[in-house]
């Protein structure tokens, strides 16, 4: 199996889907001539031409709306946001139009489109450009929300997202683009809404998604050296959430920690904890703990940024706490 970067895995998925279906096209800021702000669309303009790889002005609301219109008349647009922080301007099209049109048209208009781009914090991009939006987007009925954490999941989920007849929000990560992993060639599909058990152990469940999946695997490796073996449940999709996978793991381990990039209040972890208390009440040996960003706008200063972010050390401490080891 080829080892690819997360970026190349996305490019591969885009290329394969552009080849497979000529209704698919990509648009966004700098996606064509500049090969994408993060080079995800490298080489695609040369291969598919300017009708299918479309540069847009710096007008998030405008081109998101163009994408919605194109989807309504039968094309399958992929709208790239340079980051989801900029996509806030386009949320009216995402939330009020893309997510609602199938419903409000009584099923007359499908919305087969993808909104994609990097989500969450990178390094020292400060308060306005370091935010994880998945809990906002996962709140909306009518949207699906993918948060792949590995190159293989990025490829498999992007292909599923492009083929889906519903609007799919696809959250990537600036810090993920250079990470590497094995990626199956060709037709590799990861179904939306299915979690992946990335590590197996009996002592605790660490439930996570997106960028934090990598952190979670590091946590599992660190703890294994101490003889503590954990399940790492990578949700991969946060709407819909694979509740069965969560329940299966927690019913086995009897304790859980939820790790996420975003803030605490109304975060994805709050929803996961709700599922756990409903499905696994009699299986719990300890309250479920959460690891998340501290409740502050992301600081710019390096040391403060590090302190504000969730990390492996915080996750390890939480796992030991639910195991009554601290």
């Amino acid at each position: 199996m080829a080892v690819l970067t997360y970026r190349d895995a996305l490019t591969q998925a885009l290329r394969e889907e552009l080849q497979r279906d000529d209704r698919v096209f990509l648009m966004g800021e700098e996606v064509a001539q500049y090969n994408g702000a993060y080079k995800v669309s490298k080489g695609l303009l040369d291969e598919f031409g300017p009708m299918r790889i479309v540069d847009t002005p710096i007008t998030e609301l405008g081109f998101a709306g163009v994408g919605v219109g194109a989807a309504m008349v039968g094309l399958r647009p992929i709208v790239e946001f340079m980051t989801w922080n900029f996509a806030l301007l386009a949320l009216d099209e995402v939330v009020n139009v893309a997510a609602k049109t199938l419903y409000m048209s009584g099923g007359q208009y499908k919305m087969p489109m993808v909104f994609r781009g990097p989500n969450g914090a990178a390094l020292q991009l400060a308060a306005q450009h370091s935010q994880a939006w998945e809990s906002w987007l996962a709140h909306i009925p009518g949207l699906k929300v993918c948060t792949p954490g590995t190159p293989a999941d990025a490829k498999g989920l992007l292909k599923s997202a492009i083929r889906d007849d519903n609007p799919v929000v696809f959250l990537e990560g600036e810090m993920l683009y250079n990470t590497k992993g094995e990626v199956p060639e060709g037709e590799h599909i990861v179904p939306i809404g299915v979690a992946d058990l990335k590590r197996e152990g009996d002592h605790c469940s660490l439930i996570t998604h997106g960028k934090m999946a990598l952190v979670a695997m590091r946590v599992a490796d660190d703890l294994a050296k101490e003889g503590i073996n954990i399940d790492v449940v990578d949700l991969r999709t946060v709407r819909p959430i694979d509740v069965e996978a969560i329940a299966r793991s927690v019913q086995k381990t009897n304790r859980a920690v939820v790790l996420e990039e975003g803030w605490e209040i109304c975060g994805m972890g709050a929803q996961v904890v709700d599922f756990i208390q409903r499905e696994c009440f009699d299986d719990l040996d300890a309250p479920v703990l959460r690891v998340h960003q501290e409740e502050v706008p992301m600081p710019y200063a390096k040391n403060l940024e590090r302190a504000a972010k969730p990390d492996a050390g915080k996750a390890v401490a939480a796992i030991k706490k639910v195991m009554y080891l601290d």
Partner: protein, 484 residues
């Protein structure tokens, strides 16, 4: 001048009331007409109001206490007034002066299960109470609902009776989780705060489930988690240390934590019990009779015996299995009357009456709902044989939660069995015989069986018993459900 606050007759027939909740704290300024407390009468939950002005100096009753009308509950007086003599006279009842007419407040909350006398005035306990009632106060409750609310979970009870909380330091070698990692945990010397005295025993949901499954009493276990919480490893250790020992003794079996739920008697339940006992002897019994179609059960028996001796089952075995499964669906029938409460059992131990030379004895099929029909058949045969040989051990004929009596083999069509107290019911089985029955306008010959249930009306109401019998009928008339 001091004002005595007494339990007033808040309804014409009220003889005692349960103080559900104090609305004022000691030291609060009160005016005549202020609501002091909420009181559950035999009919409803009512407000007890102040009959004088001043400071609520002393509360003499605890939430959850039931007191006869006229009992001194509290004293209202001036801040500096000496009330020693009044407080000292508590118990010497003064008759209520006024007739209250307020209707029940809709936001009534039920007793929070914290009847511990140590509680009033202990600040940390007060905080806990506030938290506990906060979640309930917004839910309007009728007195009937408050019956369920007031029920004390078993582990809560156990906590109150448990020995002193564990010392704050953990043992040198702390118990590890199952298959625990070999690495030494950090912070070995860390201490967990002890459980609050008189507070409820904290137990993780998993630990509670495991204790129930393994028949381990939580009351005797010291929790090693935060706040004295009993966690999985404590159950594992208790098991290793023989915490489940003595399980075979019937008394232990019934006392096992989590195997039952005690339901405190509401005023209406008390009134029903008292009135019915007056009318009908100590166990106010009524009878429900039904005729079941046993044709399919008879066919099943024939087919089973054709399969070989090891598959044979009697009608008695079939009925016991059906009753056990029905009890599982109707825990309110699987109950004991204990005078001050009803105990609903989660486990099902069915006694069967066996005639012996000079009387009868009732050996017990423990956990009959979990036994297969053939296990029941084999066990029943063994018990009956040893009963006639007078070789039963005491724990084999005590500890039942419900009984079945069968005189079918003597050619009896139908009879009423006497309840075996404190059980709440017994089923009497008549013989299976061919009878003409009209089905869809056609006369058919069917195998019929008459079943009569005796019910202790203090525990089982008519509709409750009837619903239970419906379930028994469903099993007996669809006997495949007994073997799959």
């Amino acid at each position: 001048m001091a004002t005595k606050v007494v339990m007033e007759a808040l309804s014409p027939t009220m003889e005692e009331g349960r103080l559900v909740k104090w609305s004022k704290n000691e030291g609060d300024q009160v005016k005549s007409g202020d609501v002091l407390a909420e009181v559950e009468t035999d009919k409803a939950v009512m407000e007890l109001v102040a009959r004088g002005d001043g400071v609520l100096r002393k509360r003499l009753a605890n939430e959850g206490d039931a007191s006869p009308v006229g009992t001194l509950l509290a004293v209202i007086a001036a801040p500096d007034e000496n009330i020693d003599s009044i407080v000292g006279s508590a118990g010497a009842a003064a008759p209520p002066a006024a007739q209250a007419s307020q209707s029940a407040p809709a936001e009534q909350t039920a007793q929070a299960g914290s009847a511990s006398p140590a509680k009033a005035g202990a600040p940390n306990q007060a905080v806990a109470d506030t938290r506990e009632s906060a979640g309930r106060s917004s839910v309007p409750q009728s007195p009937a609902q408050s019956q369920g609310e007031a029920s004390t979970p078993p582990q809560q009870k156990a906590g109150a009776q448990a020995p002193a909380p564990p010392p704050p330091s953990r043992p040198a070698a702390p118990p590890r989780p199952t298959a625990g990692p070999p690495a030494a945990p950090r912070g070995n010397g860390a201490s967990h705060p002890a459980a609050p005295a008189g507070g409820r025993q904290r137990t993780s949901p998993l630990a509670r489930r495991l204790a129930t499954e393994r028949g381990i009493q939580l009351g005797g276990i010291q929790g090693s988690g935060p706040g004295g919480r009993i966690v999985k490893r404590d159950i594992e250790n208790a098991k290793a240390a023989g915490g489940g020992a003595g399980r075979s003794a019937a008394a232990e079996r019934l006392a096992t934590e989590g195997d039952f739920k005690d339901v405190p008697l509401t005023q209406i339940r008390k009134t029903i019990a008292r009135r019915l006992s007056e009318s009908n002897g100590p166990v106010p019994t009524f009878f429900l009779t039904a005729e079941f179609d046993a044709t399919r059960a008879a066919e099943l028996r024939t087919q089973l015996s054709e399969m070989g001796d090891q598959y044979k089952a009697s009608f008695n075995d079939i009925v016991i299995k059906a009753v056990a499964l029905a009890l599982a669906e109707h825990p309110e029938v699987n109950a004991h009357w204990l005078g001050d409460k009803i105990r609903n059992f989660n486990r099902i131990h069915v006694a069967m009456a066996v005639a012996v030379e000079d009387g009868l004895i009732t050996p017990v099929l423990f956990d009959a709902d979990r036994m297969t029909l053939w296990e029941i058949s084999a066990k029943a045969k063994d018990l009956a044989k040893r009963a006639r040989e007078r070789k039963l051990l005491p724990e084999e004929y005590t500890g039942s939660t419900f009984s079945v009596s069968n005189l079918g083999m003597f050619g009896i069509d139908q009879f009423t069995a006497i309840i075996n107290p404190p059980e709440a019911g017994i089923i009497a089985i008549g013989g299976v015989e061919e009878k003409p029955v009209v089905i869809d306008g056609q006369l058919e010959v069917r195998q019929r069986m008459r079943v009569t249930m005796s019910c202790d009306h203090r525990v089982i109401d008519g509709a409750t018993g009837a619903k239970f019998l419906q379930t028994v009928r469903r099993y007996i008339e669809n006997p495949l459900s007994l073997i799959i």
